[in-house]
């Protein structure tokens, strides 16, 4: 029983990073009805960019590296928007999908060329802290990651539901034509959405780097898959869904690994996805459809 609880707690804490990646996918889908396949790669790319701070300022605190990754994420989000969406006709869904796949490969290869593919040590906070309750343990750094992710999600929800920008974003998400008729600059809202998701992605990348302790270009492929799984299970376009699904996938993944081993783990996660697609295709929190 202790092993089970331990696996669930480890998985759920780490699942917070999946939730952040899932939010990025779902927010773009919610607003533009497009999938940004480059999101996880951009997040990892942003985390790498954070390391540039250590190049210019050796011994910079981890929090500064995370902040640098956060900002780089926003910048990368904007670049992805410009390259993959702004100049490409949105009426051709495959065109934007494929351009983001191309961007995923491009970002990955830029990282590989910049680092020669070598894993990079990533700074962490509280990585030497371990909370004990008998034999049950909780990693201090994962608690921090969880806390940061929860705070980021809270900020995002506040932005979406408590600000004029959020109102505009939700308007574009629900009825883009009506939003345009009301004077909302749809292209501007789309670009801002990418910057916001990019900022979240940068944070997610940094948190992943911090929790693993090492960064590698190997991460972006599996994270893209996890992000998509989380988005589908949570419900395309649903932010609360992405949060719940991220934690759920993280927990399930660890439990499957405990009982069935690492070679079968992903198989069961995919079966979980399949079960959702068959029995609840809209995901946990299927959003209501708009009128457009």
């Amino acid at each position: 029983m202790l092993d089970f609880l331990q696996a669930v707690s480890d998985g759920v804490l780490f699942g917070a990073t999946y939730a952040l990646i899932g939010i990025g996918f779902t927010l773009v889908f919610g607003v533009m009805h497009k999938i940004n396949m480059a999101y996880a790669a951009a997040s990892i790319g942003a985390a790498y960019s954070g390391l540039l701070l250590l190049e210019v300022m050796a011994g910079a605190p981890p929090a500064a590296v995370f902040a640098c990754a956060f900002l780089a994420g926003g910048l990368l989000g904007w670049v992805v928007y410009l390259a993959c969406f702004h100049f490409i006709p949105l009426s051709h869904p495959l065109a934007t999908l494929m351009s983001t796949v191309g961007m995923l490969l491009l970002i990955d290869e830029v990282v590989v060329h910049a680092t020669d593919g070598m894993p990079q040590n990533y700074p962490a906070m509280f990585d030497d802290v371990m909370l004990h309750a008998g034999e049950f343990t909780l990693r201090g750094d994962l608690l921090l990651v969880f806390g940061v992710c929860v705070a980021a999600m809270a900020c995002l929800l506040a932005l979406l539901y408590r600000t004029r920008l959020g109102l505009a974003t939700r308007a574009v998400s629900q009825q883009p034509i009506a939003a345009q008729l009301c004077g909302i600059q749809v292209a501007q809202v789309n670009a801002i959405t990418f910057v916001i998701t990019g900022l979240l992605g940068g944070l997610a990348g940094a948190m992943i780097g911090a929790s693993v302790g090492t960064l590698s270009p190997l991460l972006s492929g599996p994270l893209t898959v996890k992000g998509l799984v989380v988005t589908v299970i949570g419900g395309l376009g649903s932010i609360p869904g992405a949060i719940v699904a991220g934690l759920l996938v993280g927990g399930f993944e660890n439990v499957f690994q405990l009982y069935r081993g690492v070679t079968e783990r992903d198989l069961y996660v995919m079966l979980l996805l399949f079960a959702f697609l068959v029995f609840r295709p809209g995901g946990i929190f299927a959003p209501r459809g708009g009128r457009d």
Binding site: M118, D141, G213, T214, T263
Partner: protein, 392 residues
């Protein structure tokens, strides 16, 4: 005006000499994109550095007594089997005499499969092109084809020696636990076929193993298994990224084995860059360390071409000199119209070799076209790998 005419005449003469200069092409191939890009970069640098040295020394002597300059080119297979096969077919379509590569065992295995299995077999239409591998290390691959040769360390011998040494040096140690990257051909085979077997053969009790995947990010469950097992020795058969993740989790959970053993390929800069602090004390058998004049010189020359010397890239360096020796002893013509005959001579020459000169000493060649290379044990200390023991 006279000076100008003289300069033009000299330039034309020099151009004429260059035009007549003979060349022999050796093609390298390996991963230059993707997460193992550093392997390709280092191999290419070592090949270029060796070729530069050979060319400065006059080049390769051909059958007619003339000299030819070595030309090196390098192809990217991205550690992908399909690309690797496509690359070797492309190389075979050029005037390359032989290829050095690939980086990954999952490329080498199918690639050797498209080569002719037995020479002179008229029923086998496989590619008749010699490949001399420097990096792909999974055991026993060269026996797939008689056109395949390898200059990679014999892990069975090295780990046998390492566990024997551990048994002698630490007689109180009894148990071993493995950490294995289950989805990578080399690391998986090294644990299941080599390390486990050699530990048992040296009277260690293997208690079990924890498995993870190459791109895994969470090692908590696996490290808890390690902690419960409380083995004296933990042997990690994984490449630097996942090994560093596992080592960092071991540090968090306070798992401190008496001895930490690593995978041959991890005695590299990558490990130190990813987790030098956590890798402290790790012991790895390797076929290269800059311990003598020749090895240091090779490392310096490779650095000039922006490469790092390690057990893999230095095998590429050695291969270049072995190939020079074979080309000269087999009296290749260097004539492009005789390319297939020259390739066959190189294959036969490589097959004949019983001993080759390596950077750490003589390498014995085996009947199944593999190498039995000298090796030593290195240990991570500070920010470098230092020689811990030389068993030979």
């Amino acid at each position: 005006m006279k000076k100008l005419a003289l300069a033009v005449a000299l330039a034309l003469a020099a151009g004429g000499t260059l035009a007549q200069e003979k060349t022999v092409r050796i093609s390298g191939f390996g991963a230059k994109t993707g997460p193992v890009r550093s392997f390709g970069i280092n191999s290419e640098a070592a090949m270029l550095a060796a070729a530069d040295l050979i060319n400065k020394g006059g080049g390769v002597r051909l059958a007619d007594g003339s000299k030819a300059r070595i030309v090196v080119d390098f192809y990217d297979d991205a550690c992908n089997a399909e690309q690797g096969i496509s690359v070797i077919r492309r190389i075979a379509g050029t005037d390359a005499l032989v290829a050095i590569g690939p980086t990954c065992s999952n490329v080498a295995e199918p690639l050797f499969g498209i080569l002719q299995k037995k020479v002179d077999d008229p029923g086998d239409t496989g590619l008749q092109f010699p490949v001399f591998t420097d990096v792909a290390i999974k055991i026993g691959l060269a026996r797939i084809s008689e056109w395949a040769f390898r200059n990679v360390p014999n892990e069975m011998t090295m780990y046998s020696s390492l566990f024997y040494w551990l048994r002698q040096k630490y007689p109180d140690l009894k148990t071993v636990w493995g950490g294995v990257e289950e989805d990578f051909a080399h690391s998986r085979t090294t644990w299941h076929v080599v390390m486990k077997d050699r530990a048992t053969a040296n009277n260690f009790q293997v208690l079990g193993e924890s498995k993870w995947l190459l791109a895994d990010t969470n090692f908590a469950t696996q490290v808890r298994e390690m902690k419960k097992a409380n083995a004296d020795i933990i042997a990690i058969s994984a490449h630097p990224f996942s090994m560093c993740g596992a080592l960092k989790e071991m540090q968090r959970q306070g798992v401190k084995p008496k001895v930490l053993v690593g995978l041959t390929s991890s005695s590299s800069l990558e490990t130190l860059q990813g987790c030098a602090k956590q890798a402290q004390g790790m012991i790895i058998p390797t076929s290269f360390a800059p311990v003598n004049k020749e090895a240091k010189f090779a490392a310096e020359q490779t650095a000039k071409f922006k490469g790092t010397a390690d057990l893999h890239s230095m095998a590429a360096w050695e291969n270049m000199f072995i190939l020079k020796q074979v080309m000269e002893s087999e009296r290749i013509s260097g004539d492009k119209s005789q390319i297939q005959a020259d390739r066959r001579k190189i294959r036969d020459g490589l097959a004949k070799l019983k001993v080759t000169k390596g950077l750490l000493g003589d390498t014995k060649r085996t009947d199944d076209r593999e190498a039995d290379k000298p090796y030593l044990f290195v240990q991570a200390r500070g920010n470098e790998w230092v020689v811990l023991h030389n068993p030979l």
